[in-house]
């Protein structure tokens, strides 16, 4: 689980927050509602999650319920892989 969170943090920092310190992107930092991820960025992140973790994300699963924080995405990935 912690591994997933670190991988997600690193990916989000590289792709969408270049130059940001890892400590500023917390597990519970809102990603969608804060404007860090816009709709296109979210699609890209969903594709990354699908490819990296070998899971399929249905369109209705890609909303703020699962994709608004590193915590949320990590739990979602874990439940999908379980």
């Amino acid at each position: 689980m912690d591994n997933i969170k670190e991988e997600l943090r690193q990916h989000i920092l590289e792709e969408f927050l270049p130059g940001e310190k890892p400590s500023n992107l917390k597990d519970d930092t809102p990603l969608r509602t804060s404007g860090i991820l816009d709709s296109v960025a979210t699609l890209k992140l969903v594709t990354f999650v699908e490819e990296h973790y070998g899971i399929e994300v249905e369109a209705h699963e890609a909303g703020v319920e699962n994709f608004d924080s590193i915590d949320g995405i990590a739990s979602f990935v874990k439940s999908k892989k379980a």
Binding site: L17, G19, S34, G35, A62
Partner: protein, 517 residues
């Protein structure tokens, strides 16, 4: 059939095709031509009762639903002009817009009721509001008696709508369009795309975006069906792919950005798109690689590249021959002027020869009359020549052989991103509002996938610099999402030229040299 007022399109179709489907929501709400026309007349009656008169402006801060479309026609029937805004956008920016054009009434979603607070009359959708002195629930408005006949005087030069675009000084500016402007464009669309009552159109663009003019008025003029795509669905390529196939849409119109996402993320092969006959795109350059991907999935429709700023709506167009050759990488031209427009390419005062670059000027009945309340900027946008009034698009084009004009770029600081116009100066003005920022310079660089990448260079005291996460959030609260920069970089000081202006060239070089993330 010829009408001189946009409401006339709906009224004529309501008498020709009263029981045909006019508009549908994804949630299943549908309205026939008779129903939407009757409801719009009731809204117009309500507005007239509230003192709304010909030429008044009415704000629309609504999600894209059949109700919002009905409100558009209610406003037009009342002789007023609608001012659509992104109902999810920053309240301060929307407040500035509504104050700028002094709206008499605002239709707002109840979740953003505060957006209607300053107007004399607020109509709230989706709420259990009880009628107050100035606030009315949508249902009450629909129960009002229809506008008395004969309707108020109508003139083709009446204002129909104001579309606000990014302003370089940080304040959005309102492009004012008349019925004549819109109708000359819609009538051209009729001749170019030959729609009929059997067509089923997409409506992907939000109403505050000028692509919506074709979406709304072309189907309703011809008695076709309009399938509204609200913001949330519009951003989900897989659901959108299902939507297009499921409703057997025949005409699609959007920015290249969303078509590109459909091609990349839509899993288009899952469905049958044999009904789709025409694909239109406009708003920015379509990267050929992405266009090729779409054409491979949808080989049979006719593809058209439409070009035109909000001030003129579409003024040049090109049919794209398919299939797209594998070895082609240069973007397609924007083509030749539409039949209702004339074009001129000038370098200074001189018309340029084929093959040379120049600024594109447009004249014709679709060209706007001016920016709301900005006489100087309006005057500066036009040039008189050969007895005609020409709008300077600010776009640099090149005439390329028999293909028409090729888009080259801009000489100012306006960019296009996902089809939206952005004045980089508006982003800078926003960043300057942050207490810890003493310098802000924003540049944009072409990016093979993202189209344009927006980079904000900032200066400010080292001990109080906000984090990038904080900057993202700050911009999100003050700017539309499409203006939020991709990259933020703090410098000790912004580079300056010898005349002490921000040295944007130096910043562009800095970024290209990879000195920054």
């Amino acid at each position: 059939m010829s009408v001189s007022h946009l409401a006339g399109y709906l009224e004529a179709s309501a008498s020709r095709f009263p029981d045909r489907l006019a508009v549908a929501d994804p949630d299943g709400t549908v309205l026939t031509y008779r129903e939407i026309d009757e409801r719009a007349s009731r809204i117009a009656g309500f507005l007239a009762d509230r003192g709304v008169r010909r030429g008044d402006r009415i704000g629309l801060a609504l999600p894209k639903t059949t109700a919002a479309l009905t409100a558009v026609f209610g406003v037009l029937k009342a002789g007023a002009a609608y001012v659509p805004v992104d109902w999810t956008g920053p309240a301060a920016r929307i407040g500035t817009i509504f104050a700028d054009c002094q709206v008499r009434a605002v239709f707002a979603d109840c979740r953003r009721a505060e957006l209607a607070a300053g107007a004399g009359t607020a109509i709230l959708l989706g709420a259990d509001v009880s009628s107050g002195t100035d606030a009315f629930p949508w249902e009450t408005v629909l129960e009002h008696a229809p506008l008395e006949q004969p309707a108020p005087d109508r003139h083709p030069d009446d204002l129909a709508y104001i579309l606000y675009t990014s302003g370089s000084t940080g304040v959005p500016k309102g492009v004012t369009l008349t019925h004549r402007n819109a109708i000359s464009f819609v009538d051209w669309c009729s001749s170019a795309f030959t729609p009929s009552e059997h067509d089923r159109f997409s409506s992907h663009a939000p109403f505050h975006f000028d692509l919506s003019i074709l979406d709304i008025y072309l189907p309703l003029k011809h008695g076709g069906a309009l399938y509204l795509i609200p913001e949330e669905l519009g951003k989900k390529p897989r659901d959108l792919a299902h939507f297009i196939a499921g409703h057997r849409l025949t005409v699609w119109y959007s920015t290249p950005a969303i078509l590109g996402l459909l091609g990349e993320f839509g899993d288009l092969d899952r469905f049958d798109y044999s009904s789709l006959r025409t694909v239109l795109f406009a708003g920015e350059v379509f990267p050929v690689k992405q266009l090729r991907r779409v054409v491979k999935h949808w080989p049979h429709p006719d593809y058209f590249n439409l070009y035109g700023p909000t001030e003129t709506n579409v003024c040049t167009f090109a049919r794209i021959p398919t299939p797209i050759p594998e070895d082609r990488s240069e973007p397609y031209p924007i083509g030749w002027p539409c039949s209702h427009c004339a074009a001129l390419v000038l370098d200074g005062d001189q018309a340029v020869e084929a093959g040379s670059e120049g600024l594109l000027y447009i004249s014709g009945p679709s060209v706007f009359s001016g920016y709301w309340g900005r006489p100087e900027e309006s005057a500066a946008a036009f040039m008189d020549r050969d007895g005609a009034r020409w709008y300077n698009t600010g776009d640099v084009v090149k005439q390329s052989g028999c293909d028409g004009f090729l888009y080259v770029g801009r000489r100012d600081r306006m960019i296009k991103r996902r089809g939206y116009r952005i004045e980089l100066g508006e982003i800078e003005s926003c960043l300057y509002k942050h207490a810890a920022i003493t310098g802000a310079a924003v540049i944009a660089l072409p990016h093979p996938e993202a189209g344009m990448r927006v980079v904000a260079y900032l200066a400010g005291p080292e001990d109080s610099r906000p984090s990038i996460v904080e900057l993202k959030v700050f911009c999100n609260q003050n700017l539309p999402a499409y203006m939020n920069p991709d990259v933020f970089v703090f410098l000790d000081a912004l580079p300056r030229t010898s005349t002490n202006k921000v040295n944007y060239q130096e910043l562009t070089r800095k970024f290209a040299a990879g000195a920054t993330p």
